[in-house]
Structure formats: structure tokens, C-alpha cells
Amino acid sequence: MINEERVILMTRMASYEQHDEKKNMAIVNYFRNDYLGFEFLKSVICGTMAFLIVFGMYVFYDFETFMQDIYKIDLLAFGKKVLIIYLVCVGGYAVITYLVHAYRYHLARRSLRTYYNNLKKLQNMYERQG
């Protein structure tokens, strides 16, 4: 005879396995700090690339003036200014992505815990029946 409760549980678990399990396993396979560190590093790299693109556009936009003034301007002060803008932009972006990924890690762990609890429940059902 079909055990309705068991069928419902198995359907729910199969749906989870099909959709979210792989993604969540990929996240939870890392230790929290490793995962967040890795994502932080990726964010810094991507942020740096985006900053370089924008900076390149800025330089190209004012290319003539930039080339004319290159010997007049205080390059150290200019470099310092660019570095500060870089740190603020990329730092801010990296912090935001860090928070987002921390939340994602928390959600992935919680949903996997629920999945394993359901597995245990299913095993108990079989044992009771057996």
C-alpha cells in the first residue's frame, strides 16, 4: 500500500535534489571562511578589472589634456588620488559581495540541513515499516 506521507516527503526531496542541491553542495563543500575568502578575492579581481575599464575610458576621454599636462601634474598626488578612489570603489563593492555571499552560505547550509533531516525522517519511516 502507498504511504502518502512518504511519497510527499520523497517528492519534496527529489524536487530539491533536482533544483538546488547541486548549487548548495558546491557552496557548503567549502568551509565558511574559505568560501567567503574565495568569493571576496573574485570580487576584488572583478572590481579591479571594472575599475581599470572605467579609468581607461576616463583617460581616453581627456586624452589630449592628459598628454599635455602629464609633465606638469604632480604624478604622485594624482596616483594617490586614483588609489584612494580605487580603494573606496573596489573595497565597497567587495564588502557588499561579501555580505551577499555570507547570506547565501547561511541559506545553503540551512536548506541542506533540512534536506538531511528529511533523509533521516525517510529512513525512520522505512525502518518502522520494515
Binding site: I53, F60, V100
Partner: protein
Amino acid sequence: MTNLLVMKEYLKQFYAKYEVYLHPLAKFLLSLISLGMINSKLGYMGTIDHASIVLIVALMCSFLPRTCIILFDALFILLHLYAMALECAIVALALFLVLFLLYFRFSPKSIIAVVLTPVCFGLKVPYLIPIAYGLAATPASAVAVSCGVVAYYLISYMSGNAAAVSGMASDEMITRFRFVIDGLIGNKAMILTIVAFSITIMVVYIVRRLPIMQSWRIAILAGVLTDIMVMLIGDLMLDTNLSISILGLLGGSIVAALVGEVLRFLLFNVDYYRMERVQFEDDEYYYYVKAVPKISISKPSRNVKKINSQRRPQSMSSQNK
């Protein structure tokens, strides 16, 4: 109302049955419309400005992941702009790269909003986007919708100023570049639209989650009014003169409200008259719970009853004849 609910049940059943075909069909249509719009707006490269090419790419997109729709759209835009002027293509490429690196790398799910927003602009119903995303998504979708607005204004700016850009001498590369950048950054209508859409999405999201009766309907109304107000006030302040026509804004807002109502019916259909307030406690808490039942109706089942006509026994009298 009952008929509508029955229809909803039929729709749900239809979707569940044909989901495998409906998803590729939706991707096919979306990529077909978006590529068609790009070709009609830009269309500077003759090689890809063909219905057959668009059809082939749309068919490919229907079987590939959703991200491919935006990749092909971006590729088409870049190729057309390259055919128009190299500087335009460089600016567009830089913009797409920055968007990809900063946002879509870690939120690929919301990528569809970037395609849908320009498509809705093309169909003259852009105002339904913030209402729909406020109802069905989270405030984070405001970023994706803003990217879509930028993409739309990029395309329309390029198509509107193609003659001016092409008219500049080819050795004035930096002048062309500066012209394109100035036009994009100084586009007040774009900034106003981004601000209005972002505020609307947040207002709709916040109001629809309030624990009040008819929260979704109030959210739709609040969203529509917010959108109109921000657009009008922004227009006065920024003096955008107007890329937004008042009639278009009002008409678009009415369409947005109607689409919002359809979404409400499909996603959040509850019966406030049967709302219950229950109160109970456990060891640690008192619970004051408000439970609002969903309106649901079972699909009418049709039983076909076969009535076989009874054969008459041949009458004895005819046999005797």
C-alpha cells in the same frame, strides 16, 4: 469570478503539463522580439540584419541557458555599433563589461530583467516593469531593471545620433568618443527613469508585504502613483523636456496597473472575508496569528456518461408474418 478561478486552474494544469515546451517557447519569443528590436533600431550591419539570422539565433537561444539571450543581444548591439563607428562599439563594450563584472557575475538569475526592460520600452509599456518586479521579486531586482534602462537608452541614443557620429571626420576619434560618452552620461531622461523605477520597485515591495488587507492592490496603486509623481517631479526638476509624454505616462501606468492586477490574481489570490485571527501559546511565546485563506477552486471534472440505446426485441407479430 468562479470562471476566472476555473481558468486559473486550467492554466496551472496546462503549464504543469507542457512546461518542457513552454520554457523554450518563451525564450525563443523573448530573443526573437529583442533581436528584432535591436535590428530595427540599429541595423547598421547588413550581414546580421536578416530575418533568417534572427530566427536561427532565436532558435538557438530557446535551447541554450537564459544567459545566452543577453549574450547574443549584446553581440548584436556591438556588431551593429562597430559597423556604425568603432568608438560607439568601444563605449558599449566597456559598459557591458562593467555591468557583467560588477553585477551579473554574482546574480545571474536576474539577468532576464535586462532583456525584458528594453523590450517593454519598445512595446511602449515600460511602466509595467517596476510594478511587476515589485510584486514578483525583491528590491535587489532594481539593479537589474536599471541595467535594462541603461541598455535601452544606449540603443536609442546611438540610433538617434547615428548621423551626427558618422558625420564626424574619421580621424577625430577622441571627439567621437567624447560625444558618445557625454550623450550617455548627460542623459537626464535615463537618470530620471532609473530613479523612478528603483523607487517604485521598493515602494511596491514594501507595501505588498505589509500585514494589511488588500496589500497587493494598495501596493499596485501606490506603485503607479509613485511612478507618475517621481516622473513628473523629476521632469520639472531636471527639465528633461520630455522624452516622457504625459498621455504616454498615464496610459502606460493604467496598463501597468492592469498587468499588476493580473499578477495579483495569479500569485496572491486570497479571501479576506474568511480571515481568521487565532491566539495560542507555548512555553516561550504567545502567538497572535492572522491566517488568510487562499481562494482555490477544484477543476470541474467532466464525466461522460454513455447511454446505449436499448435494442428492442423483435416483436413476435412481425416474426409470425
